[in-house]
């Protein structure tokens, strides 16, 4: 039997959060953490968490499992469980709505700040705005972000300044549009990032790389933004 400890908090009835222990029969299988949560849900239907696609595409079930952020649906027990014990908490640093469900408004507000869409006021061509294969290649490692928030909520700078530091996820998206040959707002985008908080609160500790379930590298993208800002300012 797997020992599972789940963070419980219902702001309507609880004065403070607590941990609740469950025993789960995994049948000796190397289940995903989401499967374990489903088994717990069958024991106690009040346990709340987000989920949707269950295959690492939608980014709904970002959780903190045994101290490390990740997607519950693609994290096998063998990867996270030590000593037959699994501790599941909500993503750190964001307000808890209930149990494992967090309020992601601050995360989305930072995403919105980077204007995550192409800005190009030139007349649209008849079919589409074409890119060379080389220019398209520059977007690899950037466009794959699914906004699960695992990286930003593993970043201490985002914990301390979630309202002012854009965070690794938002900055990866910022660079995705800075690097796009079809986007014409590079200078405007960089102007909006040149303050002491938006980009420069990144101290390069690389928690974001360590936890990204898609294997992306926000620290490298932040380095590219910094270099663009430096080239523009000197």
């Amino acid at each position: 039997m797997l020992q599972v400890s789940i963070y419980r908090y219902n702001p309507e009835t609880d004065s403070e959060p607590s941990m609740q222990d469950f025993q789960v029969d995994t049948g000796g299988k190397d289940l995903m953490v989401l499967d374990v949560l489903e088994l717990i849900k069958s024991q106690d239907t009040t346990v709340s968490y987000r989920r949707s696609c269950r295959e690492g595409v939608c980014g709904s079930d970002g959780l903190n499992m045994n101290g490390k952020n990740g997607l519950a649906c693609i994290t096998p027990l063998s990867e996270t469980v030590k000593g037959n014990k699994l501790v599941v908490r909500p993503l750190p640093g964001l307000p808890v709505i209930r149990d494992l469900v967090v309020d992601m408004s601050m995360f989305y507000a930072q995403y919105e700040k980077v204007q995550p869409y192409l800005i190009n006021d030139t007349p649209a061509p008849a079919i589409e705005r074409l890119q060379s294969p080389e220019d398209r290649e520059k977007l690899d490692g950037l466009y794959e972000c699914i906004l699960c928030a695992c990286c930003s909520t593993a970043c201490p700078s985002f914990w301390w300044n979630p309202d002012r530091f854009i965070g690794p996820s938002g900055l990866l998206q910022a660079y995705r549009f800075l690097a796009d040959s079809r986007d014409l707002a590079t200078d405007e985008r960089l102007s909006r990032l040149d303050d002491p908080f938006s980009v420069f609160r990144c101290h390069g500790i690389q928690n974001c790389i360590n936890v990204c379930p898609k294997g992306l590298n926000p620290t490298r993208a932040i380095g590219h933004i910094r270099n663009m800002l430096l080239a523009r300012a000197t």
Binding site: W160, N161, D195, P196, F197, F200, R226
Partner: protein, 119 residues
């Protein structure tokens, strides 16, 4: 864009660049002082070393670099941990008091350093 009136250069890239450049200057200065110490010094050789204008200018550059480096670092620490978000309204009072105290200490050290070098 986040506004800040207390950061050193009012710009992220300016503070970032200054912190790196001042770090390199400090490294070079401490290597220079370290190599002198390793070679063995007494009062006379130490005094002779600081009699030269070049060493005095280098030392002043290191003092100013230390001042800028310290301000940028302490400012970042204060705006991370002493905030209204973490501590309520008293966070603002504490942060401003901390920043004033830091700036006073840095100012005194800079003036004192100049006095030692050219006094």
């Amino acid at each position: 864009m986040v506004r800040s009136v207390t950061s050193f250069g009012r710009s992220g890239v300016s503070d970032w660049l200054l912190q790196r450049v001042s770090g390199v200057i400090l490294l070079a200065y401490f290597l220079c002082i370290g190599s002198a110490l390793v070679g063995g010094v007494d009062y006379l050789s130490w005094r002779d070393m600081f009699e030269g204008t070049g060493m005095r200018v280098f030392t002043l550059l290191a003092i100013l670099s230390l001042a800028a480096h310290a301000w940028i670092g302490m400012w970042a620490v204060s705006t991370d941990y002493m905030t209204e978000r973490l501590m309520g309204k008293k966070g603002n009072v504490l942060r401003i008091a901390f920043q004033i105290a830091c700036s006073l200490v840095i100012f005194v050290y800079v003036i004192w350093g100049v006095q030692i070098l050219w006094g």
